[in-house]
């Protein structure tokens, strides 16, 4: 029993030593590891400068902080959140998808769709036009198409007269 009592602290000391050894051997995060996280962050004080390439002393210290956090086992997401908590959402390369920030993501696609609709509507008269041309050659009694068909020659005559006027 006495032997066992002696063994426990011995094992504990060994375990502590072993843990210390592991900690000493844990690889320090490389510059590339640090830059991988820093690339996703923007300098909190400079204008539009990613943290991985920012040349200021302050940014060098923030990169050192990232190295320290990585060494302590923090994940990329935890480090990014730490910077957001400290300096606000401006350190992220894109606004977080929440609240008013959604506008930045939805306005351009909505306007693009509006543009497409306008474009399609620009083509519509052409379709009617094709129809009216055929209506012009094959008269149809009554209805919208026949009136369009009747309008087409007038438009043509007006243009022709305009052209002739210009020539004169």
């Amino acid at each position: 029993m006495k032997k066992l009592l002696w063994t426990i602290p011995f094992v504990l000391v060994l375990a502590l030593l072993w843990k210390g050894h592991v900690a000493a051997q844990a690889p320090t995060p490389s510059d590339d590891d640090v830059n991988l996280v820093a690339k996703q962050l923007f300098c909190p004080v400079c204008e539009n400068t990613p943290l991985d390439v920012c040349p200021t002393q302050a940014c060098a210290q923030w990169r050192a902080l990232i190295r320290q956090k990585l060494g302590e086992g923090w994940t990329d997401a935890q480090i990014k959140q730490y910077f957001v908590d400290q300096y606000g959402a401006r350190v992220l390369s894109e606004p977080p998808r929440a609240g008013l920030n959604w506008l930045v993501y939805i306005v351009p696609p909505i306007l693009f769709v509006v543009g497409v609709v306008i474009l399609v509507r620009t083509f519509r008269p052409a379709e009617n036009d094709t129809y009216s041309e055929s209506a012009d050659t094959t008269p149809v009694s009554g209805g919208e198409s026949s009136s369009e068909g009747a309008a087409a020659p007038d438009e043509y005559t007006a243009r022709l007269e305009d052209e002739l006027k210009k020539r004169n």
Binding site: N48, V104, P108, F112, L119, F123, T130
Partner: protein, 687 residues
């Protein structure tokens, strides 16, 4: 005394510009040609006046008049003379004066054209040009005076004022702060003039469009007059953007050329609408369509030119509060608002006169493709505009600043750029008025087969990235279609004329400069797209602190640290210059010298990379840090940038293509008039 002279001349040029506006309007409505001519002379006078003012400032800069606030801020005794001259646009006040001077150059040039056939446009071209010029001169005179000098009060405080305040004495610093080191690069010396040239020359087509709207002469005459002006403006703006990118690549030390920074985007936005306009006006010329749209595009381009200058000059980008505190910001804001509302109102007023003369009859017609092209350009503009102003909206609405950075822009604009490259390839195959998918298919099947073969080849070489594969397929297709179009043209001419290949090519391009200049520009854009695809998708990097003799590996290359020297230079720099050796598979390929310059006067560092460039890639080495005493260890960042030089090669080809397209043809109307006069002379001689 000299400074007062420069300032006085500025006031005269402001008065002259305002007189030109008044005289032109009065002359138009009276109507009196004498008043219009007087306005024209006043407009012409602005050029020598502003030249005099700019030369005065250059004299003060060159002769180290550090009692002038602007001179103190941008120069120092140790700066070489050429840099002192270019320091004119190295600060806010000087760059506004330079902007105004360039504006006067273009306005005077347009005044000197033959106006016989377009006399009704003249007063309104003068009005628009003079209002723009007067606005910029007002900014200088009232807010950003480059001639203001230092005065010291008896309590020792130093103030800036044009004239001596009571109880003060002149204050003359011994030396200036010197130009920002980042602005000493050749790219930055040429970049701002190119950009400003692009900006100011877009004022001219805008002025003609407004003249057309006011006078009611809404046919395509204004477009024909300004076609070359527009192309020149577009060429300068494009060169400004490219030079800015090259500067960023060489000087900013982050291994890239375009960071989607708001300042970059500010110059990019007018380019987008300008490019859409350059294409869209062709529809009006050929088919008499989209007159509203073309007018709106040139109004937008002008507004974006002013908006871009506003973004970079008002401080609004750093904070909306900085904007509110700056005097120049609100002035810009009001000017943009007033000119846009006035122009848009004129457009609405003339809406019925601008109806299209034809209609879209085919979704595969050239005009339909151009319209799609416009949709994509405007969509990219919306992304850019929204991305730039959203942080301001967020700050105003919530007080929280946000960053809209490269991931947002790249995700949103990538597919749109790809679609544009695709359209660039197929649009020239379609005919004006009507085309079908069959005619298109017949014209493009051979290039399409070649594109598929090229795609298979790149897959065989090991390319697997899906985005790259889609990108390269589009690039190959557009490239082969354009080359095929060239080939068809040359072959047809060669057969018809029995000329050899080179002579046929030369004459083909010479006789159809606009068309083939455009094709050359398209090929240059494709080369640029290859470069962009390479660096965006395949850039790799590594960073490490290494001792002498140790190496870093990236992209198959080995970079070995050899030596480091730290020394002072005669022009007040402290230079840390490393020597690294680049090798591949054990074979030494080059020795590079990345360095870090520290400028004592401005207390700013500047990183100059060591670059090994080949057609295949750039190896880009940056000296990040070093151990100052023994210099035994140093930190390097190494980028492997595949295909990036295709971007620069494309830029050079672009300039060539634009020059081909811009090169003046003989004026057909002038030629026919001359022919008529000649034959009349011969007839009368025979009689």
């Amino acid at each position: 005394m000299i400074a007062q002279f420069g300032y006085f001349v500025l006031w005269i040029s402001l008065a002259t510009s305002l007189f030109a506006v008044g005289a032109a309007v009065y002359g138009y409505y009276k109507p009196s040609q004498r008043w219009v001519d007087s306005a024209r002379n006043a407009m012409l006078l602005s050029f020598p006046l502003l030249t005099l003012s700019a030369l005065t400032l250059i004299y003060l800069i060159s002769n180290n008049h550090f009692e002038i606030d602007f001179v103190y801020a941008v120069t120092s005794r140790s700066m070489p003379t050429y840099l002192k001259v270019t320091a004119l646009w190295g600060g806010q006040a000087g760059s506004l004066l330079f902007w105004s001077w360039l504006m006067s150059v273009f306005a005077s040039a347009v005044m000197l054209r033959k106006w016989d056939r377009d006399r009704e446009f003249l007063p309104w071209v003068i009005v628009v040009s003079s209002i723009t010029l007067a606005f910029f001169i007002s900014l200088i005179v009232f807010y950003e005076n480059p001639f203001a000098r230092y005065w010291q009060n008896f309590d020792g405080s130093v103030i800036t004022a044009m004239f001596q305040p009571n109880g003060s004495v002149p204050f003359i610093p011994a030396d200036g702060r010197g130009l920002n080191p980042l602005l000493r690069h050749p790219g930055m010396i040429i970049h701002p003039p190119m950009l400003y040239l692009g900006f100011v020359s877009f004022v001219i087509p805008f002025a003609f469009s407004i003249a057309a709207l006011v006078t009611g002469r809404t046919d395509d005459r204004w477009i024909r007059i300004t076609r070359r002006w527009t192309l020149v403006a577009w060429l300068f703006l494009s060169m400004g953007l490219v030079l800015g990118s090259r500067w960023a690549y060489d000087v900013l030390g982050w291994g890239g050329f375009w960071g989607w920074d708001p300042v970059e985007i500010a110059a990019f936005m007018p380019w987008l609408t300008g490019t859409a306009f350059v294409h869209s006006v062709m529809i009006q010329e050929k088919r008499g369509m989209f007159k509203h749209w073309n007018t709106l595009l040139i109004i937008l381009t002008y507004s974006l030119v002013i908006f871009g200058t506003f973004l970079t000059r008002s401080g609004v980008l750093s904070s909306v509060h900085a904007f509110a505190q700056s005097a120049i910001g609100p002035a810009f804001f009001i000017f943009i608002g007033v000119t846009f509302i006035a122009s848009a109102s004129l457009l609405i007023y003339r809406w019925n006169d601008l109806k299209s003369e034809s209609k879209l009859t085919s979704v595969f017609s050239r005009e339909a493709f151009f319209l799609l092209n416009n949709l994509f350009f405007i969509s990219i503009l919306i992304v850019c505009f929204w991305g730039v102003i959203f942080p301001l909206i967020s700050e105003l609405a919530t007080g929280q600043k946000v960053t809209v950075g490269p991931p947002f822009y790249e995700r949103a604009t990538g597919p749109l750029f790809a679609a544009l490259i695709f359209l660039m390839g197929i649009a020239p195959l379609s005919a004006w008025g009507h085309s079908t998918y069959k005619t298109l298919g017949r014209a493009m099947w051979k290039p399409a087969v070649a594109a598929v073969v090229a795609e298979v080849a790149v897959i065989a070489f090991g390319l697997r990235n899906p985005y790259a594969l889609v990108g390269f397929l589009i690039i190959f297709l557009s490239l082969f279609i354009t080359l095929h179009e060239f080939w068809r043209g040359i072959r047809a001419r060669s057969r018809a004329t029995s000329e050899n290949f080179f002579l046929s090519s030369w004459r083909l391009v010479g006789r159809n400069r606009r068309r083939y200049g455009g094709y050359i520009i398209h090929i240059s854009m494709i080369l640029m797209a290859i470069g962009i695809l390479g660096i965006e998708l395949f850039q790799t990097e590594t960073q490490g602190t290494i001792a002498q003799g140790q190496s870093l590996n990236v992209g198959g290359y080995t970079v070995t640290y050899k030596d480091l020297a730290i020394f002072d230079t005669a022009d007040a720099r402290n230079v840390a210059r490393a020597v690294v050796e680049v090798s591949k598979n054990g074979k030494v390929l080059a020795e590079l010298h990345p360095r870090r310059d520290y400028f004592y006067e401005s207390q700013q560092p500047m990183t100059i990379p060591g670059v090994r460039s080949t057609i295949e890639s750039d190896l880009y080495v940056i000296l990040v840090d070093w151990q100052p005493i023994l210099a035994t260890g140093a930190t390097f960042k190494v980028y492997y940038n595949p295909l990036v030089n295709w971007l620069w090669a494309g830029s050079i080809l672009f300039i060539f293509g634009a020059l081909v397209a811009v090169w003046p043809d003989k004026d057909p109307e002038y030629e026919s008039a001359r022919e008529r006069a000649k034959s009349a002379q011969q007839t009368s001689a025979a009689d």
